[in-house]
């Protein structure tokens, strides 16, 4: 964490190598997040470059009391929202979920629950999860990726989104249940 802040300070002072180190450290996590949000590798690479350029140009506005990684993911998330707005893709708006998080009744385990996951080998399961990820709302997909691919804590995700931790946990569980229910679907 302090290492990131040190790199940011050095990059602000004009040390190019420091920013190169930031890129090297975050290129893969950022590409995995953006890639699974937009779906295409080439587009994801362009977006990731765009995000790093935005980060460089706004380094001075970074507040050290926050984690650098959460600030970086927030910029990436906003870049994707802007892109979808420009493209008029509003079917799975990332903000859409806000009013749907409140007062969700707890889902109980059902006695007649079908064993969906155990039917598959782990490698098959991975492929099916990848396919199912594309079908769930972006607001749920985003938190799922952060939690399970980028391995961020619920608190970190809450900081990125500016939402309560409980809401984030709820979204991650919803995402997983939705994916689980999609496992039966034919490709």
């Amino acid at each position: 964490m302090d290492e990131d802040k040190n790199l940011v300070n050095r990059a602000i002072l004009g040390e190019k190598e420091a920013f190169e180190m930031i890129i090297q450290k975050y290129q893969q996590p950022l590409l995995n997040y953006i890639g699974r949000m937009v779906g295409e590798r080439e587009l994801a690479l362009d977006f990731t470059q765009e995000v790093f350029i935005k980060i460089y140009s706004s380094l001075r506005s970074y507040k050290p009391q926050f984690k650098f990684s959460t600030w970086l993911y927030r910029i990436a998330s906003n870049t994707i929202i802007d892109y979808w707005r420009k493209k008029k893709i509003d079917a799975f708006s990332l903000d859409q979920q806000k009013n749907q998080d409140k007062d969700l009744p707890p889902i109980q385990v059902q006695a007649n629950e079908q064993p969906l996951v155990r039917k598959f080998e782990i490698s098959q399961l991975r492929e099916k999860i990848e396919r199912a990820l594309d079908k769930i709302p972006a607001s749920l997909r985003e938190v799922f990726i952060w939690r399970h691919i980028n391995e961020l804590s619920y608190e970190e995700i809450a900081e990125i989104k500016g939402l309560p931790t409980g809401t984030i946990k709820n979204r991650v569980f919803q995402a997983k249940e939705m994916i689980r229910n999609l496992l039966e679907d034919k490709p």
Binding site: E20, T48, Q108, V117
Partner: protein, 192 residues
């Protein structure tokens, strides 16, 4: 105790429950096969989700980003620099002249144009004279060549062929020796 909620199961898997909540869940799991199966399902799902394939960036990704942030400087051709410097000097001269003479830029430009035209008027007769001189020189060299040719023709008709060969060979040797000597004389700083 009623069956666990899906949220409780996920929190249990992720070790996000408090110690007392954890204890309650474990005691329920010991007696409820439905929740046990549900837990196994979610464990597998979480395990698969955490081992999804990672996308790799191309090896030159960092360089690509850095090149977009810091584009390489393109150096201007030298002639363009000279031209720009000349133009800048001209503008500067105009500016200084407006300050010194107190005239406005328009009248200054007019007087500059007039001066250029006057200079060209003076230059045209000079150019005509140069052309006349050049044509005279051409005529002179033409006459000289004709004279030389006549002289040589006369000379070859008088002297024998052997003598002609000797004269020509001596002249060639003399010319080559002079060029060589001149070259050595002028070769300053060359290694001997």
């Amino acid at each position: 105790m009623k069956c666990l909620s899906i949220e409780q199961i996920y929190l249990y898997i992720e070790k996000e429950l408090s110690p007392s909540e954890n204890k309650d869940v474990e005691s329920h799991l010991r007696v409820c096969s439905i929740c046990q199966k549900a837990l196994e399902e979610r464990k597998l799902l979480s395990q698969a989700a955490e081992s999804l394939r990672l996308w790799d960036a191309p090896p030159d990704f960092t360089q690509q980003v850095m090149a977009r942030i810091f584009p390489p400087k393109v150096s201007l051709p030298a002639w363009l620099g000279t031209l720009a410097a000349g133009f800048a000097s001209m503008v500067l001269c105009f500016f200084i002249l407006t300050l010194v003479t107190g005239q406005n830029l328009r009248s200054l430009l007019l007087s500059f144009t007039e001066a250029v035209f006057d200079f060209l008027k003076y230059l045209v007769p000079l150019f005509v004279k140069v052309l006349k001189l050049a044509s005279l020189l051409v005529i002179f060299f033409q006459r000289f060549a004709e004279f030389l040719l006549k002289g040589l023709t006369l000379l070859t008709s008088i002297i024998s062929t052997e003598l002609q060969i000797i004269i020509i060979s001596t002249t060639i040797i003399l010319i080559i020796s002079s060029i060589y000597a001149l070259r050595r004389k002028l070769a300053f700083g060359e290694k001997t």
